[in-house]
């Protein structure tokens, strides 16, 4: 690919694959959570919100360690893996996806939750008075109105997964083409003093982050214009 050596383009493609899959899964998983958190009156919704937000505060290595135990034969991961004859979900792309989903969850839930909350009760009430069942009202009114939140969540979730390091280190096992993602590859290049490769990949990540931040402010501007 572009005449790059495998130990440069394989981490890149692996990372893009991981980030894309994680983002798609997160959009599906985060939406009902964000909806419930935005609308719930129960006192324990804040507890749930805090649990969801834990990955924001926990060091990735702590998260990684607990994941390692959970993904292994001692935890549910082992039970799931045995369905296809494996012992553990660690050291696999699947394990990385699970870890990334948990790790990036708050980054996707938060913007979507805020978008739903900003909408208020009125649009859903109006929709109900216009014969829309809660399901129809959700898809025809809430989701379109919360679109900037979805966009922000997707961008943040994607970018956050691309930048993941400590977590992957803990549960990945550094297997080329399977779990050796971009951040780990750069780390390895630095450890072994392979500066040109390290520079190339790191510079690429800087450019990528810049593009992410730009698109975020673009989305925010558009969100602001729609709201006024």
């Amino acid at each position: 690919m572009f005449g790059l050596s495998p130990d440069i383009w394989r981490p890149i493609s692996l990372t893009l694959e991981l980030a894309s899959l994680t983002t798609v899964i997160l959009l599906v998983v985060a939406t009902p959570i964000a909806w419930w958190l935005a609308r719930s009156q129960s006192w324990w919704s804040e507890i749930v919100a805090s649990v969801v937000a834990l990955p924001l505060v926990l060091p990735p290595t702590v998260l990684g360690f607990y994941l390692l135990v959970m993904l292994g034969p001692d935890g549910p991961g082992g039970a799931i893996a045995s369905l296809w004859g494996a012992r553990t979900l660690a050291f696999s792309f699947t394990g990385l996806v699970i870890g990334s989903v948990i790790y990036s969850l708050p980054f996707v839930v938060q913007p979507i939750r805020n978008a739903f909350a900003a909408m208020g009760d009125r649009p859903m009430e109006a929709a109900a008075t216009l014969r829309a069942s809660p399901w129809r009202a959700f898809w025809r009114v809430a989701v379109p109105l919360a679109r900037p939140g979805f966009l922000t969540g997707a961008i943040l979730g994607f970018a956050h997964t691309v930048g993941e390091f400590g977590l992957v280190l803990m549960i990945g096992g550094n297997i080329p083409g399977v779990t050796k993602v971009l951040s780990v590859a750069i780390f390895d290049f630095v450890e072994t003093s392979r500066w040109p490769e390290a520079h190339a990949l790191a510079a690429g990540m800087v450019v990528f982050s810049f593009v992410v931040i730009l698109s975020m402010s673009f989305v925010e501007k558009r969100m602001g214009r729609l709201a006024s």
């Binding site: 292994g72 096992g173 390895d188 450890e191």
Partner: protein
């Protein structure tokens, strides 16, 4: 009032300094991850013996070297091999004449269940999914593990099953949590444990894990640093080191 304040200040200074013997200092030591537990007990003994404090930082030897080249405030490097201290001397960051072998490591194959006791038989049987080694690029024990596998002519066969830990501690974690059935770790990590199965890898299968220490330029003027280097060679320190599963050859 003024004399009262003066008296208080004097008392404060006295209180602070009386706890320490005269001229007590501290030194910052970078320690290879596999030597973590041992280094901690040595530091305690060092403090008791000399009153000097040794502040320890742990990591993979390669990573520590990287940090030293970038000006990390370490004064002594306790590496997991001989290469990194030598490179430090060559880079002009350390004093060549202070380099000596402080410990000789032993490689161990460990498993959470009992299978590792079968040693190379367990490896040949191949009845496992994952075997963990430390990243050979930055951890000498990982390099030693690879050498062992090559010597046993199993490197190619087992390559798909190898997973790498970023450090020797992480490598051990993989096996401890059961994610990898086998792991190549340092003897010092398991010497005080009774669980699991272990196989002391014959020295003939890998290049000796000579672990060298060197005084860095930053520690040259620090008495505490020099005292630590000396303490490492002393009989009490050696006894501690041996108790943790290392050999201590004579100083070079």
């Amino acid at each position: 009032m003024r004399s009262f304040a003066q008296a208080m200040i004097m008392a404060l200074i006295l209180a602070l300094t009386s706890a320490l013997p005269a001229r007590a200092g501290s030194t910052h030591v970078a320690v290879a991850a596999n030597f973590m537990q041992t280094a901690t007990t040595i530091a305690a003994a060092f403090k008791a013996a000399t009153g000097h404090k040794a502040v320890l930082s742990f990591g993979a030897s390669g990573g520590l070297f990287m940090q030293i080249t970038q000006g990390a405030p370490y004064e002594i490097l306790l590496s997991a091999d001989q290469d990194w201290p030598r490179k430090a001397v060559e880079a002009g960051l350390a004093l060549g004449e202070t380099r000596f072998t402080y410990a000789i490591g032993a490689l161990v194959l460990w498993s959470r269940d009992g299978r590792a006791t079968l040693g190379d038989e367990a490896l040949r049987a191949g009845d496992f999914r994952k075997i963990a080694i430390a990243n050979p690029a930055s951890a000498p024990y990982g390099q030693a593990a690879l050498e062992t596998l090559e010597a046993l002519k199993l490197a190619a066969v087992l390559a798909p099953k190898i997973v790498q830990g970023a450090s020797i501690a992480q490598t051990f974690q993989f096996a401890e949590t059961g994610n990898a059935e086998l792991a190549f770790v340092a003897l010092s990590q398991v010497i005080n444990r009774t669980d699991g199965g272990r196989w002391l890898v014959p020295q003939s299968l890998y290049k000796p894990l000579l672990q060298d220490a060197v005084l860095l330029n930053t520690g040259q003027a620090n008495d505490a640093a020099g005292a630590f280097m000396a303490f490492l060679k002393s009989p009490p320190a050696r006894a501690l080191i041996q108790r943790q599963g290392y050999e201590t050859g004579g100083a070079r």
